[in-house]
Structure formats: structure tokens, C-alpha cells
Subunit: 261 residues, 2 copies
């Protein structure tokens, strides 16, 4: 049997502490790196992203919209979005679960449910990140490419919206530190309270090292370095610096602003 | 820009040679290992696999059937199964593509399309493999678990059905070696021609090493080993020895038996 799950605070044996939240964030780094390496198997495949009325009969918009929206609908029916760790990219007209809802322990303030910044994540992923780590070209595998994009988007969305849990545990540990800024609706003060440059530097280095480790070509010989890693480690470091960590803090601020409602 | 894609023989710059097929198989090992590590985040979650008429309104059978079948339908509409490298688990009543079909170079004998051993792969995965690498327990995340199972199944199916391309290139390189056994419909003789114990031993060792490398907890300290890898490397070695390589050879034999039709 494998060791205890650390990717979620809802694992059967996990309590809600700063350590379990931190472990979940660290484990999710692996998921993000794996998903980017898998997406990098395909070239850009830009026809999947082009607004083409003729691409799919009866569906407006790019193929990747179709794949993500319809796959989310399947997963919603199966109950995915009952979990407060999960956030849909197409929340409008999302089907109801067809299964009895699982009772997740209530940890977050109810206002958490109103925070979903997937529009920002979607834009960041397709406009900023994707061109940095896939090669040019078109191999026709648009469906598999879109499914692979969805894996990346879900991993990033989960990680960034974990800001809700980060903010909740920080607030519980020291409510007095946050209450004045919350009552004053002072976003800048909250952002300052939530920013730890040393920790952020460590995270950037760690995700780069993970990308180097997981993206290497493993051979049976002892020569460690065969070719380049499948994704450039500096791109993942930049992903965290420019987008994952700032967007997580944005989620934290949005959550804290609602925390006393 | 990243290095040339090696996961597919249909990459823009890839020719169909023994080397490109071998590179595709090696790259797919990484995908399989990643997918197993990701599935191991969740406990067994057995309610996803139980035949429960009440679990999903209007759908008979286990939740994982619902998720895989419906997600395959979405991907089929987006054109996934036009690619001869891809094989659905629920081929009956699969929707037609809604997109103009991509023209993949014709490499395989047309009879290849009739070979799909996903029923065996499904059975192997759920009955044999899954209990070996996930921990006991139930965290309620059945939808995400089923989506994760689907990633594993698709990676394994793609790898095993690559036997078609392996058999084709081997046949082209030395048709005279295979024709007598094909004409005699001699499965045992074909299996013998396709079996290279030294190569299989090397593959088993390599996938174990990949599992150790990709499943480790990467930290910024130089102490390489922090805890156990997330999936037991010996399980992946056994997966290849007992199932992936034998089933790939089964696909090769089935393909060769139809190669002269």
C-alpha cells in the first residue's frame, strides 16, 4: 500500500492544519509539472484554439472550448464540483450531479463558493504560458491536445484556488493579524501580510528542480543528462513567479475580504 | 522551443522507422508512470467501481463506466479516434467526429482497425493492477478518481496497441522472416519471433527506474531519498512484465496474422 495521500486536505487521515495545506500545495506541484510535460508532447496545434464556426457542427467557438466544457459537464454529473477544491471553467449551465453528493467536511466560509478566477487562469494559460513551452507545429491531434490542456488547466486551477484554504488556515491561526485590514477592505495591506519573498523564492527553485527531474530522459546508464528536459525548468519557475503565486494571493485576498461577512 | 516530439510516429518531423517507433514506446513509459503516480493520489474509492443502479440516475453500471464512456464520446466528437494510435474502450455507439478528419499518413494494413483489446486492458487494470498501487480507503472523490483512471487506461491502451506499428515495421524490415508463420497461422512461432528476453529485461529495469525518479519527493536539499516513491517501482516493472509486454505481443501477433490479407 502506498503512503498517505498528501494532495488534498480531504484525504481520509488528513487534518486541516498549515502542514497539510502546505503538503497539498507541494504535491500539486508534481501534478502541474507532469501535466505540462504531457502537453509538451504535442506541438502548438493552433487550429484547436481558433474561433472557427465550421470546425464543429452545432458548436460555436474553438475546439478546446468544446472539449473542456463538455468534459466538465460529464465530470459535473459524476460529482466533481461538489468538492470545494474543484472549480469549473464553464460554471454556467453546469449539469447537476447525478450521484448522491459526498459530504466534505465544511472548512471554508460559505462565501468561498463565490470565488472563481478561472477566466484569468484560462487567459494566462493560453495567451501567456502555452507559447512558452510547446513547439510550433500542427500534427492534427487536436482532441488529445485539448484533453491535455484540460489536465494543465485543472491542475493550475486547483493549485491557485487552494488560496482559499491557505487563507482560512492563516486566518484561524492569527485572526487579529487580519481583521483590521479586512474591515478596512485594504487589499494592499492584506497582500503584504500574505507575501513571504523567501518562501516564494524557495518554491520557484523547487518547481524548477522538479521540472528538471521529471522532464529528464531516464536511461539505464548512469550518465544523468541525456538531452534537454522536456519542459524548460525556467518556464515553470516563471509560471510560479508571475502567475501561480500572484493569483493564489489574489484568491487569498478575495477570500479574506469575505471572511467576516 | 522544446525538442522534437517523440511520443508519436505522427509528429511533424517523424519518419516511420524502428527508431521512431522505439522512441515513441520509451516516451510513452513516462506517460504511463505519470498517470499511475497521479492515480495513487486517491485511495481505492471502490464506490466508483460498484455496479449500483442507484448511483447514477438514468445510467446503469459503475460510475467509472459513465465517466469513461461519456468522456470518450466528447473526445470522439473532437476527432480523437480518427488517429490510428487511439482506441476507444466503448467503441459501440461512439459518436462520429464533428470536425473535418485529419489525414494521418496511412502506415498500417487496413485490417489493423479491427484489432482492439481494450476489454482485456480494462479487466487487467481494474482487477489486477489497481489494487497493487493504490491505498485502501474512500475520500469521496469518485469523479476525479474515474478521470484519473481514464488517463491510466488511455496511456496503457495506446502503449499496448502500438504493437500494430511495432509489428508493421518489423514485417517491412524482414517480411521473409514472418511470412511462413503467418501463412501457417502459427501463433506460437510468431510469438517466438517477437520475443527478445534481453530487451524485455531492460525495459522492466528502465520503467522501475523511471518510477523511482518521477515518484520521488523532490526537495531543495541534496538528500536524494525522502520517503518512499509514490508508486512502488516493482509494481510498474511487474505491470510491464506480466501485462504490457505480453499484451503488446498479442497485438503484434493479431496484426501479423492479418498482414497478408
Amino acid at each position: 500500500m502506498a503512503k498517505a495521500d498528501t494532495s488534498s486536505i480531504f484525504g481520509s487521515s488528513n487534518e486541516f492544519t498549515l502542514d497539510t495545506v502546505r503538503d497539498a500545495l507541494i504535491r500539486q506541484e508534481d501534478t502541474i509539472v507532469f501535466s505540462l510535460i504531457e502537453r509538451a508532447k504535442f506541438p502548438l496545434n493552433s487550429p484547436a484554439y481558433i474561433e472557427s464556426p465550421s470546425l464543429i457542427h452545432g458548436f460555436r467557438g474553438p475546439l478546446v472550448h468544446f472539449v473542456v466544457r463538455e468534459t466538465e459537464a460529464v465530470q459535473a454529473k459524476a460529482g466533481r464540483y461538489v468538492n470545494p477544491e474543484e472549480h469549473p471553467f464553464f460554471p454556467d449551465h453546469l449539469p447537476h450531479p447525478l450521484v448522491p453528493p459526498h459530504k466534505y467536511p465544511r472548512i471554508l466560509h460559505p462565501a468561498a463558493a463565490s470565488i472563481n478566477i478561472n477566466k484569468d487562469i484560462w487567459h494566462m494559460y493560453f495567451k501567456e504560458l502555452l507559447p512558452l513551452f510547446v513547439k510550433a507545429g500542427d500534427d492534427g491531434n487536436y482532441a488529445s491536445t485539448a484533453a491535455s490542456d484540460m489536465e494543465c488547466l485543472q491542475a493550475l486551477s486547483r493549485r491557485i484556488h487552494y488560496g482559499k484554504f491557505v487563507a482560512e488556515i492563516k486566518f484561524r491561526d492569527a485572526p487579529k493579524d487580519y481583521e483590521p485590514a479586512i474591515r478596512a477592505k485594504d487589499r494592499d495591506a492584506l497582500m503584504k501580510l500574505l507575501t513571504f519573498p523567501d518562501v516564494e523564492e524557495m518554491v520557484r527553485k523547487r518547481v524548477a528542480k522538479k521540472t528538471m527531474t521529471f522532464g529528464q530522459e531516464v536511461t539505464l546508464s548512469d550518465n544523468k543528462t541525456v538531452g534537454e528536459p522536456k519542459v524548460d525548468p525556467s518556464v515553470v519557475s516563471r509560471l510560479y513567479e508571475e502567475w501561480v503565486m500572484p493569483l493564489t494571493k489574489l484568491v487569498q485576498v478575495e477570500y479574506l475580504l469575505r471572511r467576516l461577512d
